[in-house]
Structures are given as structure tokens and as C-alpha cells.
């Protein structure tokens, strides 16, 4: 099971890097969906020895939400808004990927220093690093991209990072916290979707940075 977890972690980090390097929105949505499914499997794999129905249900709910529901909503937002790709982000694809390497280096460094027992039980020290990396990637996307849609993606990735971190640090997911965050993200996706729809209708574009033209 350890090898499977390591492979999964590597896939998680690679998907983070891909999000940083790719500008095509539909591909990004697919990658985020992949991350969601991966994390669902992950919470099963980490608790392999003592699987309770609760773990199964939580894994299924979060996998379903992140892997199917969000992507569908986001895809509809993309087709409604008619935006295909991220053009002229604040930070271009190559610097983003380089920043991603730096973020991962930092995550590994921090991961080695956090006193987390759950991670060691789960079999890989990389769990903490990979979840930190995912969390930081999400924040980076929110900060470095212009389109409101990519920023929404960033929030979801950020949430994925927290989820993975929770799995890493506690082993079993603290259901209440996790559900709360899930709900937040769910609402965020809805609000963003509605907001984007309206921004697009009013202004013919989706650039969040132009919202500052509204200030008095």
C-alpha cells in the first residue's frame, strides 16, 4: 500500500505542476477533477487497515463532489462565459512552473520539520509535503491568475490541500471540519458561477482585475 500512496502523492504533485503550467481552462478543470478523485481514493488508502463505513462514505461524498459535481458546474460556467483559456496571467506559465518547483522544495523542507505523527503512520513523509504543495499551489493560482474562473479553481485546489493535510495529520478525517470546508467550497463555486455569469453579461469579459474600476 505504501508504494501506491507514494505513486498517488507523486501524481498529486504532478497535477499541481500541470495546473501551474497549463492555461487551457477545460484541461485545468479536468486536472482538478482528477485531484478530487485521487484524494477520495487517498483517504481510503491511508485508512486501509481499519476501514469503517464512515471512511467509505466520506471518501465517496468528497470524491463525487470534487470529481463530478464541481467540474460539471465549472464546465457550464466556461461554456456560458465563452472563455477558453487564461490569457495574459500575472505570472506566465514558465515562471509559474519554476515557482512551483520552489514551492515544492519549500514544502518538502517544511514537511520535514513538522512534528506530525499521522504522516509517519500512513507510511510516507511526503504526504505532508505534497498536501502543503497543493495548498500553496491553490493560493498561487488565486494570486497569479486574472480570470475569476481560474481563481475558483485555485480555491478548490486550496481546499484539496487542506483535505490532504487533514488526512496526513490525523489519519482519519475530522468529519465536521472537513464537511464545513466542503460546504464553503460548494457555496464558493455557486457564487462564483453566478457572479461570473453576471460579470460576463455586464462587461463582456471575465477579468477580475477590472473590478477595481468599480471603486468610487
Amino acid at each position: 500500500m505504501k508504494e501506491a500512496i507514494e505513486l498517488g502523492l507523486m501524481a498529486l504533485v504532478l497535477s499541481d505542476m500541470a495546473l501551474l503550467g497549463i492555461g487551457l481552462l477545460s484541461t485545468c478543470i479536468r486536472i482538478v477533477a482528477f485531484q478530487g478523485v485521487l484524494l477520495g481514493l487517498f483517504s481510503v488508502a491511508v485508512n486501509w487497515g481499519f476501514l469503517t463505513p464512515r471512511v467509505w462514505i466520506l471518501a465517496a461524498v468528497s470524491g463525487l463532489l470534487k470529481g463530478v459535481v464541481y467540474p460539471l458546474l465549472l464546465r457550464r460556467a466556461v461554456s456560458d462565459a465563452g472563455v477558453q483559456r487564461e490569457i495574459e496571467p500575472y505570472v506566465g506559465p514558465i515562471p509559474s512552473v519554476l515557482a512551483g518547483i520552489a514551492l515544492f522544495g519549500a514544502s518538502v523542507w517544511i514537511g520535514g520539520r513538522l512534528p506530525l505523527t499521522g504522516a509517519a503512520e500512513a507510511g510516507s513523509r511526503l504526504i505532508v509535503s505534497a498536501s502543503l504543495m497543493t495548498l500553496l499551489t491553490g493560493l498561487f493560482l488565486v494570486a497569479a491568475r486574472k480570470k475569476a474562473l481560474t481563481q475558483t479553481l485555485g480555491y478548490i485546489v486550496f481546499e484539496n490541500g487542506i483535505f490532504a493535510f487533514g488526512v496526513a495529520s490525523v489519519g482519519e478525517i475530522p468529519a465536521l471540519v472537513e464537511l464545513g470546508i466542503l460546504l464553503d467550497a460548494f457555496v464558493a463555486v455557486f457564487v462564483m458561477g453566478i457572479a461570473m455569469y453576471h460579470i460576463n453579461r455586464e462587461f463582456d469579459h471575465l477579468d477580475a482585475d477590472r473590478l477595481n474600476a468599480l471603486k468610487g
Partner: protein, 300 residues
């Protein structure tokens, strides 16, 4: 006998390297529904070129003739450093990856100078792109080798490649990164299209437009050997061979794997489109990222 084995493999590489181009072409022909060239076409081309006369530009100097000659010699020398079939290379010492990369730098430098020697703007354009892309592949290969070196603790190409095993996931990352660098260095799709007929879009081919006859034959032979050298590195990553197995078995496995590599290059060429020029640095940066991740994983 054992001391001669690397040199026998060196000879095999030298003789069989043009065959790989034939395999790539046949694979592409198969995908396109054609019958394609004979497998040995590159041999015929080289033999014919060597027997021909040549036309030299009045602008060109001795550098134009030295380019293909030194280029081919550098590729052949690099072949002596490349391990094959899970066995150490003919020449192997700590730090030889640096020499290996340097020899390809020499080959590229001389080819590019020969291109500039003609004073043709097309060749200048190809030369400009060639040096630029390879400047970006160097860090990819360096980081990839370093990640493997960290895993194995070895300092020579033979040491790091023969100790690598695909059981560790970081090796797979390095293999992918090296494969991307391999495609770029050998001017393959998605970086360059060896079959294009429009000078403006060529990279490697346009640099050698003015070379004819024996010079062009040397360039073809040199490129074939380069393909073999870099290919044998990737093949070594995938093959779980051990140096203490009989060398004939190792060599046979290596040859089979080289053929598979050539087929997979053909498949990649058939199913992918060429990248826009300004996207090339992005793909190479992604390859560098893979190498860097592999290195960080191997530390973790």
C-alpha cells in the same frame, strides 16, 4: 573477452545506428497507411553521399567543411561514453556525464558555425533556434542525471544508469524528462519536423541545406549516432539488466529495447502535432520541472 565487450557494443552502435532512423520512418509510414522506405534507406543515403562530389558555396570557408567532420567525430566519441545494455561503457570515469554533454555541445557548436559560414539567412535562422533549444535542454539533462546520481550515489554515466530501477517512481519521472530532451536534441516532433519541406519551419534540416555529398552523409551518420547514444541512456533506465549477466543476453535485450524506442518515437511523431516555436520553452521547462521533482523526491 570482458574488456572487449564494451568496444564490441561500441561497434554495434556504430554499425546499427542508421537502422533506427529506418525503423522510425517505417513506423510513421505504417501509421500513415503507406509502405514506406526500406529499413536500410539511411545506409544507402550515406553510402551514396560519400561517393558523390560536392558543391561548396563561394562564401564558405574551411569551417563549413570542418563542421560535419568534427560533428560526426564528436558523436562517435560520445558513443564510447554511453553505456549499453546494462553494462559499463567503453570509457567510464566519475564525472563523465559532463564530458558526454560537452561532446554534444561541440557537435552542435560546429554544426551551427558551419551553417553561419554560408551566409544564408535561412541557415542563420535554423542555427539560432538550434542553439536556443539546446541551451534549454542542458539543464533538463543535468538535473535528470543529478536525480539519478542522488539515488545511486554513483558519479559516472554507467554507474548511475545501471543502478537506476523503475521500481522507484522518481526514475520514471527522469525517464520522461530525458525522453523529452531526447526528442528535442534529435530534432524530432514536437520540436522539429524532420520531414518538413518548408525552409522557414525547419530547424535542424535548414542548417544543413548547403551541405551536399560526403558532408551531408557525415551529418546523417552523426545524427544517427547521436540518436543511438541518447537513446541508449533512456533504454538503460527501463531495462532491469544486471552487469553480471552474460553480455550476449544483455546486448540482445538492449538492441530489442532500442528498436522499441525507435518505434515509440515513430508513434509519437505520428500522433502528435508540432509545437508552436514559442511553446517549445514551455515544454522544456516542464521537462526541467519533472527532473527537479524527481530530484526532490529522491531526497525526501
Amino acid at each position: 573477452m570482458q574488456t572487449f565487450v564494451p568496444w564490441i557494443q561500441f561497434g554495434i552502435g556504430l554499425v546499427l545506428s542508421p537502422l533506427l532512423a529506418g525503423i522510425v520512418n517505417r513506423t510513421k509510414a505504417f501509421f500513415a497507411g503507406r509502405r514506406g522506405q526500406p529499413l536500410l534507406q539511411v545506409y544507402y543515403d550515406i553510402a551514396k553521399g560519400l561517393a558523390k562530389g560536392a558543391v561548396f558555396s563561394r562564401t564558405a570557408t574551411w569551417i563549413f567543411r570542418a563542421g560535419p567532420l568534427i560533428g560526426a567525430a564528436a558523436a562517435v566519441t560520445a558513443l564510447a561514453l554511453a553505456p549499453f545494455g546494462g553494462r559499463p561503457a567503453a570509457v567510464s570515469f566519475p564525472g563523465d556525464p559532463i564530458l558526454f554533454l560537452g561532446l554534444f555541445g561541440l557537435m552542435r557548436g560546429l554544426t551551427v558555425l558551419a551553417a553561419l559560414d554560408t551566409g544564408s539567412s535561412f541557415e542563420g535562422m535554423g542555427a539560432s533556434r538550434e542553439v536556443f533549444f539546446s541551451a534549454l535542454t542542458e539543464p533538463v539533462m543535468m538535473l535528470g542525471f543529478l536525480a539519478l546520481a542522488r539515488e545511486s550515489g554513483a558519479l559516472s554515466l554507467s554507474g548511475i544508469l545501471n543502478a537506476a530501477s523503475l521500481e522507484r517512481p522518481e526514475t520514471a519521472l527522469v525517464a520522461v524528462a530525458l525522453f523529452i530532451a531526447f526528442l528535442c536534441e534529435n530534432s524530432r516532433i514536437p520540436f522539429d519536423d524532420p520531414n518538413t519541406h518548408l525552409e522557414l519551419t525547419m530547424i535542424h534540416e535548414v542548417m544543413v541545406l548547403d551541405h551536399g555529398g560526403p558532408d551531408f552523409a557525415l551529418i546523417q551518420a552523426g545524427s544517427a549516432v547521436k540518436f543511438w547514444c541518447l537513446g541508449s541512456l533512456i533504454v538503460n533506465l527501463f531495462l532491469p539488466l544486471r552487469p553480471d549477466w552474460p553480455w550476449t543476453a544483455n546486448t540482445a535485450a538492449g538492441l530489442a529495447a532500442m528498436a522499441v524506442l525507435a518505434v515509440s518515437v515513430g508513434v509519437v511523431e505520428s500522433v502528435t502535432a508540432r509545437l508552436r516555436l514559442n511553446r517549445v520553452p514551455q515544454l522544456l521547462a516542464a521537462a526541467a520541472a519533472l527532473s527537479a521533482l524527481a530530484l526532490i523526491f529522491s531526497l525526501g
